[in-house]
């Protein structure tokens, strides 16, 4: 079962080739004039959402009205939300957010403080393969499952801040209100599609602690509406470390490890993961790879320009303490926040599970690829000539989907027809002598 947050709005799609060429996992084809997302290959990174000129790629999130199904409503804002507003303090933002109908706000930035704290301590005691790879960006974790399976053992096995926040907020609310689990609604305000998907299809845990995920875009306009009417502020408890997670490099900073490398933008991350697999970066302690440029502030569901938002986060951080998370949560058992379901490798790149058969198919792909024009134009609906050759061998496309091959074939047929049309049957006339 695959759930994907990134989906297509068929009416808006013009069937152009912008998305197929930009998808980092080659997960889109154009068929019948519309883009089609191959669900097994999509990692919900959101590149196509950004690149589509017709806004036909939609990130499916939950409707805000779903919170009415719960008696006690808790909202978890991602740290990147703090960078979306001009002239609003974190306290202002949290108060306006709560007044949208929630009983409680719990900062994911604070959970990020806890994750940083756990990371700092656990790397001292547990023997991790180096570099340790961050598990915070679900699109990157899925990319590793698909293209770098040998690096799965390097992934840090701590739950991402959103799940840590969900777990703590839910447990506390149960104690405080005496309500049952199903009466408490925990909602995450997400900057991206990948995190929506990871709530519906959890990575490394059995079940998510989150009931619904709202788009940061939807919440953004609600906060703007409420901001004029909200007078009180909420004292936020997150430190500069947790808030810093909004930007690329924030998690690395929180690890206190000496040699960290952070890379943003999915194509850049792919390049560095290749180097890690080759053992070229074994001097690095911690690798933070983020699919979006700038980190979570660059997520496809954010409103503010990612560079502006990044700057705002830096300004907000200046006013905060470098807190050591001295509050009550530190006494919590680390084991409660560890991933406990082993990651599985994805087989989606395999041509066939039988190696001999796969080799045969690969040889056929090469043969077909040689006969294609090599323009990578995308007019066939596949991202490039090599991908078309692959699609043909897998039986999903035909040689004449290539318009150049089709044109050549028509030319040959037309010449043949032309030749035949000049021919005169001998009963009508012939220049040949009859010989016996």
């Amino acid at each position: 079962m695959y759930f994907h947050s990134v989906t297509l709005d068929k009416d808006r799609c013009k069937g152009c080739t912008n998305c197929i060429k930009r998808c980092p996992t080659e997960a889109i084809r154009v068929r019948d004039g519309k883009a089609k997302i191959i669900k097994e290959k999509c990692i919900d990174c959101g590149e196509c959402v950004r690149v589509c000129p017709y806004h036909a790629k939609v990130v499916v999130t939950d409707d805000i009205s779903m919170m009415e199904n719960y008696k006690y409503k808790i909202v978890l804002p991602a740290p990147s939300l703090y960078g979306q507003f001009k002239d609003m303090t974190i306290g202002d933002i949290l108060a306006s957010l709560q007044s949208c109908g929630f009983d409680e706000v719990f900062e994911v930035a604070y959970a990020a403080d806890i994750v940083s704290y756990i990371t700092r301590n656990i790397v001292k005691t547990k023997d991790y393969k180096r570099p340790i790879i961050s598990s915070a960006c679900p699109a990157i974790v899925r990319l590793i499952q698909q293209r770098f399976p040998s690096l799965m053992d390097n992934i840090l096995d701590i739950m991402p801040p959103v799940e840590v926040a969900g777990k703590i907020a839910r447990d506390e609310a149960k104690k405080k209100t005496g309500l049952k689990d199903e009466e408490i609604g925990v909602f995450f305000v997400s900057p991206c599609a990948a995190k929506v998907t990871s709530v519906k299809n959890p990575i490394g845990i059995e079940k998510s602690y989150i009931d619904g995920v709202f788009s940061m875009r939807d919440v953004y306009s609600m906060i703007l509406d409420k901001r004029k009417f909200v007078e009180k502020k909420i004292d936020h408890i997150s430190s500069m470390i947790g808030v810093g997670w909004a930007n690329a490099g924030g998690e690395s900073y929180g690890t206190s490890l000496e040699n960290c490398l952070f890379v943003d933008g999915i194509q850049n991350v792919i390049g560095v993961l290749e180097d890690i697999e080759l053992g070229k970066l074994d001097d690095i302690d911690f690798f933070e790879g983020l699919a979006c440029v700038g980190g979570c502030v660059g997520g496809p569901l954010t409103v503010a320009n990612n560079f502006v938002a990044r700057n705002r986060i830096m300004k907000l951080k200046e006013k905060l303490n470098k807190d050591e998370v001295t509050k009550k949560y530190i006494e919590v058992d680390f084991n409660e926040f560890m991933l406990n379901v082993k990651l599985k490798k994805s087989d989606v790149l395999n041509l066939d599970e039988d190696i001999d058969k796969a080799i045969d198919m690969m040889n056929s792909i090469d043969e077909i690829y040689k006969s294609l024009p090599g323009l990578d134009c995308g007019s066939c609906g596949s991202p490039g000539c090599r991908a078309l050759a692959e699609d043909i061998v897998k039986g999903f496309a035909s040689e004449y989907d290539c318009i150049f091959k089709l044109k050549d074939r028509i030319k040959i047929l037309a010449e043949e027809i032309n030749k035949l049309s000049i021919k005169i049957p001998p009963v009508i006339g012939s220049d040949k002598e009859v010989k016996h």
Binding site: S150, E277, L278, L351, I355
Partner: protein, 139 residues
């Protein structure tokens, strides 16, 4: 069974495209359902061999053969060969020029790293005419 083969020309001192053939080889192995630890070992061996051609040789070729039970990697260049093979097999022994070492390459780990990651490595030729190394990984 007919293997799947790949061939690449490798230019001497072309550091900007160095590693390209190993990268394509790696992606192919994934598509051919080769187990992930074999993919990693084969990629490292291929990359080190390719870098040796870039750093030390006058240019050469990388040749890959993929079977259902083994992978053969052949690195073949046009010189100047390896003067003292026994020394070259020692970790940390490097004959790379200063400017290459300054770029972060030529740490003297190439040949030992290749040997460590394959099941069999044979230096077929290493005189002035060139170096030819044949590596095999079985699975």
């Amino acid at each position: 069974m007919k293997p799947y083969t790949m061939d690449f020309d490798v230019k001497a001192r072309d550091f900007s495209s160095a590693g390209e053939s190993s990268s394509k080889f790696r992606k192919t192995l994934l598509m051919l359902s080769i187990p992930s630890d074999i993919v990693r070992r084969a990629s490292i061996a291929a990359y080190e061999a390719e870098m040796n051609i870039v750093i030390h040789s006058y240019g050469g070729k990388m040749h890959f053969e993929i079977y259902s039970d083994k992978i053969v990697i052949i690195a073949d260049d046009t010189g100047p060969g390896i003067k003292d093979l026994e020394l070259a097999m020692k970790e940390g022994y490097s004959t790379a020029p200063k400017e290459v070492i300054e770029m972060g390459f030529g740490a003297g780990m190439g040949l030992p790293n290749m040997k460590r990651n394959v099941d069999n490595m044979e230096v077929v030729n290493h005189d002035e005419s060139g170096t030819k190394i044949v590596m095999t990984i079985n699975f």
